[in-house]
């Protein structure tokens, strides 16, 4: 009996696809990765939309236009090399945000005021 493996739409299990098997040596020639930020209209922040590969900043902007603004999604594009981004570590989230967790008095709802006080 043939063993049937779970096979979901869009997820074909590993195994031969019939193409000739070959081993290739990876030359690391990928262009650098850039993160793309788009301002969707004047007055709004630039927002991260994804990333792409490009040889330099100019090409990154042009590729970002083609990949992320085909339907007028943006009026301004920022690109930054992914390697330049410094990110916080999710595993240290507890300590990192700890100073904020016990200061409920920073929120307006902490203060109990009579209903008669308007516009506050």
């Amino acid at each position: 009996m043939r063993l049937i493996r779970k096979f979901f739409y869009g997820d074909i299990p590993d195994g031969t696809s019939g193409a000739e098997q070959q081993t290739t040596v990876t030359k690391k020639t990928d262009w650098p990765l850039w993160e793309v930020f788009i301002r969707s209209k004047q007055g709004l922040d630039h927002k991260h939309v994804g990333s792409l590969h490009a040889a330099d900043a100019q090409m990154a902007i042009e590729n970002a236009r083609d990949v992320y603004t085909r339907r007028m999604e943006g009026v301004s594009i920022w690109v930054v090399e992914s390697s330049q981004i410094v990110a916080s570590n999710p595993q240290e989230a507890g300590e990192l945000y700890e100073p904020a967790t016990d200061k409920v008095y920073r929120h307006p709802t902490f203060y109990d005021l009579p209903d008669e006080v308007k516009h506050m």
């Binding site: 779970k6 739409y9 031969t16 019939g18 070959q22 690391k28 990928d30 994804g50 990333s51 040889a55």
Partner: protein, 313 residues
């Protein structure tokens, strides 16, 4: 923290519908499954440009040509969103492309069928993109953040694809007898392969089901397939055409359409590389990659030269 505790935390987050992001801890198998699935999805978008690209130079009017160009460009964009999402899991773009070319990585078997007539472009938009949308709408809620976000973007754009496909067939269905025949012929050839896109029946699958547990997937193959059939069986009436399945019949008790047996032998043959166009598709991808090599190198050399010039200045 020991692995079993990390695993428990991970599963708790999944249960609470909290998305998993690239730097979060995740089980190796979760990373591997997502990487395989997202990269296959990306490859499918890229290889999927080939059957449609076949008709760009032969579209029946300038309007249809412009539409088809825009659609094929969208497919390229979808491939790029997905490659980026896959890269967040730690595999290089170059490696993914090499895996496609070596046959290690898969893409959707549907693109191993040929587009023989103009009506095929309509049928691909209506049936193939239609089936893909069923899957993709579900995946907008998948548990891996970058994949879900790419899907939201893709779903917004796909609806144009399906509508233009149906409209193409609608116009043919109102045309001359030859155009009507062409329309019916395309539907006949694409219907069964489109149903195969959803994969084997659920009964043929093993019980352990991590994709569901991890909420990468939220619906089974049969659920999605039934949903698709119910939708298309109604839409085909508006075309005045037939689906090539004598067993297709509304079942009031089930509140679904019943349908005939899918040719699973054909399905497995195409997956294994013996479909009508498997070789041709991979050859075309490899050729494009190899012939683009000098462009990639030249652009990198130009960027490096500018960089050193700017430093010197």
């Amino acid at each position: 923290m020991p692995t079993y505790e990390l695993e428990k935390l991970f599963q708790d987050r999944i249960e609470q519908e909290i998305k998993i992001e690239p730097k979060d801890w995740m089980p190796d198998a979760y990373r591997k499954t997502n990487l395989r699935q997202i990269s296959q999805h990306a490859h499918s978008e890229i290889v999927g440009m080939l059957p449609e690209g076949n008709w760009i130079s032969r579209a029946p009017s300038l309007k249809r040509k412009a539409i088809l160009l825009a659609k094929v460009q969208d497919e390229a964009g979808h491939g790029l969103y997905l490659y980026s999402a896959a890269e967040t899991l730690g595999q290089s773009r170059e490696q993914m492309i090499e895996d496609l070319h070596s046959g290690k990585a898969k893409y959707s078997s549907i693109f191993n069928y040929p587009t023989l007539t103009w009506a095929d472009i309509g049928a691909v938009g209506w049936l193939v993109d239609g089936a893909a949308i069923m899957n993709q709408v579900m995946l907008t809620r998948t548990s891996y953040g970058p994949y879900a976000r790419a899907m939201v973007r893709i779903c917004k754009e796909e609806s144009f694809h399906q509508r233009q496909g149906f409209e193409t067939l609608l116009i043919l269905s109102r045309g001359t007898p030859a155009q009507r025949a062409m329309c019916q012929d395309a539907i006949n050839r694409w219907w069964w392969p489109a149903l195969m896109m959803f994969g084997p029946r659920d009964s043929e699958s093993s019980n352990s089901d991590l994709s569901m547990k991890w909420k990468i997937k939220r619906k089974s193959n049969d659920e999605l397939r039934q949903q698709f059939i119910d939708m298309i069986a109604e839409q085909v009436k508006l075309l005045g055409m037939q689906l090539p399945d004598p067993a297709l019949k509304w079942n009031a008790a089930r509140n679904h359409y019943d349908f005939g047996e899918i040719n699973w032998e054909e399905f497995w043959q195409v997956v294994k590389g013996n479909g009508p166009c498997n070789k041709e598709r991979l050859e075309a991808r490899k050729k494009a990659w190899e012939e683009g090599q000098w462009v990639r190198e030249a652009a990198a050399a130009y960027a490096a030269k500018n960089k050193s010039r700017n430093k010197a200045a």
